[in-house]
């Protein structure tokens, strides 16, 4: 039998783990400021300064990237794909805390997820939910239909380009569309991985990265 004390111990471990996860993911979260549009979010894709965000966040001109440690860089746009609304930026910085990327091919409906971003300008805001549905969306480009992740984690303007992470803190998707305020859509991380790989700018293409171990 599990006693009340065990249950309470479990729930406090759960709370600690959640806080640790959010701190970890926040370190890989950046603000992307386009010149004409408002700010969105992005993630540090690799430690040498590759930043992944939404294409619509970047806009037409050179964007700025604000890191978690408040350093700000003018970024170079190295690749973009409007069809899946992704853009890859390069900033002149080294030894950055890269996000860990999960394999989104093994997602299950009901998995716990967290969305991080800057809704309404609130930096590093986190919301929780689950994978609500694994469905498809029609694109305007040559792909036709692409797989998407729907989540019930609340999203708002400013979440665009930010990560949707699983219970291990690894990125499973890039938050992209916000439908009616209570239904978010994320582009699966493996589409993002393919996009980065095809850009030719990634030093190494890691198909599946093991999620970082939690250390408390």
């Amino acid at each position: 039998m599990i006693g009340a004390n065990d249950v309470l111990k479990f729930s406090s471990l759960l709370a600690e783990e959640m806080a640790a996860l959010v701190r970890r993911v926040q370190s890989s979260l950046v603000v992307v400021r386009g010149r004409r549009y408002g700010a969105g979010a992005g993630i540090i894709w690799d430690s040498d300064g590759l930043i992944l965000t939404n294409n619509h966040v970047v806009g037409r001109q050179t964007p700025f990237v604000l890191l978690g440690d408040d350093r700000e860089f003018e970024a170079r746009l190295v690749a973009r794909d409007p069809e899946i609304d992704l853009a890859l930026l390069q900033i002149p910085a080294q030894d950055l805390p890269a996000a860990s990327i999960a394999d989104s091919n093994h997602l299950k409906v009901g998995e716990l997820v967290f969305a991080l971003g800057h809704p309404w300008g609130q930096r590093g805001y986190v919301t929780r939910g689950v994978v609500s549905a694994l469905s498809q969306a029609q694109t305007s480009g040559k792909r036709g239909r692409i797989p998407i992740i729907r989540t019930d984690a609340p999203l708002a303007p400013g979440n665009s380009g930010g990560p949707l992470v699983n219970a291990a803190g690894a990125v499973i998707g890039i938050n992209t569309l916000i439908v009616g305020g209570d239904q978010g859509v994320a582009i699966p991380s493996y589409l993002a991985s393919e996009f980065v790989a095809s850009s030719g700018f990634a030093k190494h293409f890691v198909k599946e990265r093991e999620p970082a171990e939690a250390i408390i």
Partner: protein, 302 residues
């Protein structure tokens, strides 16, 4: 955290995905209206429990199972009062949902499930925000208890289950009872209604044929009754040839009990007048001139 300890967060996540898979196997698509399909729950291998308001036609009702196969179904019974309907499949084809043994508690983590498209199961996480009731619904219905949750009621989730983190059903979700707001009918009531619908095709609601209003019972009246009961229902009118008249009820009586149970207000009277009591001679206790009397009334059917 050492290597030997499990990560409680990934454990919880895994458990919820498992719960969705388990309950999702008994959650089906119900196609019986013009706009998008809704959801239903396997109540028996050939019976689907769903929301009454999503059944807009009696014929050509189509059920899509989790594996994508289609089965025809017919209406086995409907109860607009609780917004529940039971459909009978043309063959035994569905997995059966398991109900939770314990009643839902405020603060409990829950998942709302639905299958409005053949693409796959859908889910939303939340918790039981409040337990309310009794609430009167249209057409004489009364729901003794309902659940409110902060899960997102996605389009087509009506008729689908609310489940706990182990995949056991704690209720049936519907947006058809409270002007579009989502309510959850607790599984105990939903299963009871489903059982009645399977047997009789409808839920029997009793009829007495009297008009009444709640009044306080004096201390002397309560002493005469031999119990503490602050209120009863003052009979202010009876309909001709109604069960009330046939049973001897008259204007001025204070109705205080039905079938051995105290009745303090209209909601209690409505809830006592459902089910097996209908059509049967039933003891009705009144205060007449300050003295308790028990009359026998054969409860009619509404």
């Amino acid at each position: 955290m050492s290597d030997t300890q499990v990560n409680p967060l990934t454990e919880l996540s895994e458990a919820m995905a498992e719960a969705v898979a388990k309950a999702g196997a008994a959650t089906v698509l119900v196609d019986a209206r013009r706009r998008m399909p809704a959801s239903g729950i396997g109540y028996a291998s050939d019976l689907i429990l769903t929301a009454d308001h999503v059944i807009e036609r009696d014929e050509d009702i189509k059920i899509v199972l989790p594996d994508g196969s289609e089965v025809r179904a017919q209406v086995a019974g409907r109860d607009p009062g609780t917004d529940l309907a039971l459909l009978r499949l043309e063959r035994a084809a569905t997995a059966v949902a398991q109900s939770a043994a314990q009643e839902a508690r405020v603060g409990q983590l829950v998942l709302a499930l639905g299958r409005p498209t053949p693409e796959g199961i859908q889910a939303s996480l939340g918790m039981v925000s409040a337990i309310g009731g009794p609430v009167r619904t249209g057409r004489g219905g009364l729901i003794e208890r309902y659940l409110r949750t902060d899960t997102i009621p996605y389009p087509g989730f009506s008729g689908g289950p609310l489940v706990d983190t182990a995949g056991y059903v704690v209720g049936v979700n519907t947006s058809g009872l409270a002007r579009g707001a989502s309510l959850t009918i607790p599984v105990a009531l939903a299963w009871q209604v489903a059982d009645t619908l399977a047997q009789h095709g409808h839920v029997r609601r009793g009829y007495l044929g009297l008009r009444s209003q709640p009044v306080e019972i004096s201390e002397a009246g309560q002493r005469a009754l031999g119990r503490q009961q602050a209120t009863g229902l003052l009979v202010v009118g009876v309909e001709n040839k109604s069960p009330a008249v046939e049973g001897g009820l008259i204007v001025g009586d204070i109705l205080v009990g039905v079938a051995g149970q105290p009745v303090a207000d209209h909601d209690e009277l409505l809830s006592r007048l459902t089910g097996d009591i209908v059509g049967k001679p039933t003891p009705v206790q009144v205060l007449r001139g300050g003295q308790p009397q028990t009359l026998t009334v054969t409860v009619g059917e509404r």
